[in-house]
Amino acid sequence: MKLVVIGCGRVGSAVARDLAEDGWDVTAVDEQEEALTRLGDRWPGGFVVGHGMDADILKQAGVPDADAVVVATNGDNTNLVIAQVVEKRWAVPCVVVRVLDPARAKFYAARGMRTICPTQTAISALSEAVRREAAVRA
């Protein structure tokens, strides 16, 4: 199974390593060449330097025949645009996109996109932690 991870920062690189360990054939894409160091010394997968908005870079990374694409650059709008392009242009069966802003994550999730919102996860976890703590004291 082939996976392309667009944006190889803290999150993207960890996802890439995780799934490479599971046996996926992974290619990571990042604008910065240094991002390759985040993938460790014995990175078994591919790495392409370039911007995810560049269709040629996406082709080079193998997006057209990928089974899954994870979009996790540091820009919400960039992620949302890249994810839509990947879905519409190449009909990749599984596209997962990180969106930090809960409102935009919800908006695009309602339109069928698989958005992951770490901010919303933190909000829910924090509120829940306080509720549980308060219930114990009550």
């Binding site: 709008n77 949302l80 645009v81 519409k88 802003d101 409102a103 935009r104």
Partner: protein, 219 residues
């Protein structure tokens, strides 16, 4: 008309000013503090500080009314695309127009359904092409919605079309001549019009048929 202008740079502020002078109601959104403060002197409460891709900012600007027009004219193409999607798909704004900063991103706007776009770079390139035509064919107008374009060609003396009637030209399917400009006078291209050296011909065609049209008219 009510319009929201997202982006208060040179493009946004000038468009907002023009719309206001035409008597329209405008809210401009600018996310940079220093630029916002500068704009406030002129636009007062018609400029809003914030990121126009955040829903609560758009809501404060009155996106739910909804406005008749939303312009995504920031310096960031992804932002412009998302602003236009939020406006048209989320709030049923009837008309959205996006600025394309990098012409290479045009295909993304087309693919994602933002059909009204303006790209200054592409426009300037079009003018350059017009002044310095490269392959004898000048693209004058892109009719995206119709999937047609209007081009201009100059007929050389050694063109294979010289002396032929329009009806006798083997024009490709999906291409048609519109008019012929000769000695400063333009006439509609009829079947009986004869092509002469020096003619400037306007044609309408489907994108991608340029090479075939060039072969017939220019050789």
């Amino acid at each position: 008309m009510y319009a929201i202008v997202a982006g208060g740079g040179k493009v946004g502020s000038n468009v907002a000013r023009s719309l206001l002078s035409m008597g329209h109601e405008v809210t401009m959104i600018e996310q940079r503090q220093y630029r916002y403060e500068h704009l406030q002197h002129e636009f007062e409460d018609q400029v809003l500080l914030g990121d126009a891709t955040e829903l609560h900012v758009l809501e404060r600007a009155g996106i739910a009314r909804p406005p008749e027009l939303v312009l995504g004219v920031t310096g960031d193409d992804e932002d412009n695309l998302i602003i236009c999607q939020l406006a048209s798909e989320g709030f049923r704004v009837p008309k959205v127009i996006a600025r394309v900063n990098d012409p290479r991103n045009q295909e993304h706007f087309d693919l994602l359904g933002i059909t009204q776009t303006v790209c200054a770079t592409a426009n300037v390139l079009g003018l350059v092409e017009h002044e310095v035509p490269e392959h004898g064919i000048v693209r004058l107008l892109d009719l995206r919605k119709e999937n047609l374009e209007i081009v201009e060609l100059q007929i050389d003396p050694d063109s294979p079309a010289v002396g032929k009637r329009v009806a006798g030209l083997r024009l490709p399917d999906g291409a048609r001549l519109i008019s012929v400009l000769r000695n400063g006078r333009s006439e509609l291209a009829e079947d009986s019009t004869v092509v002469r050296p020096g003619d400037q011909v306007l044609a309408v065609l489907e994108p991608g048929k340029e090479d075939e049209l060039r072969r017939v008219l220019l050789g």
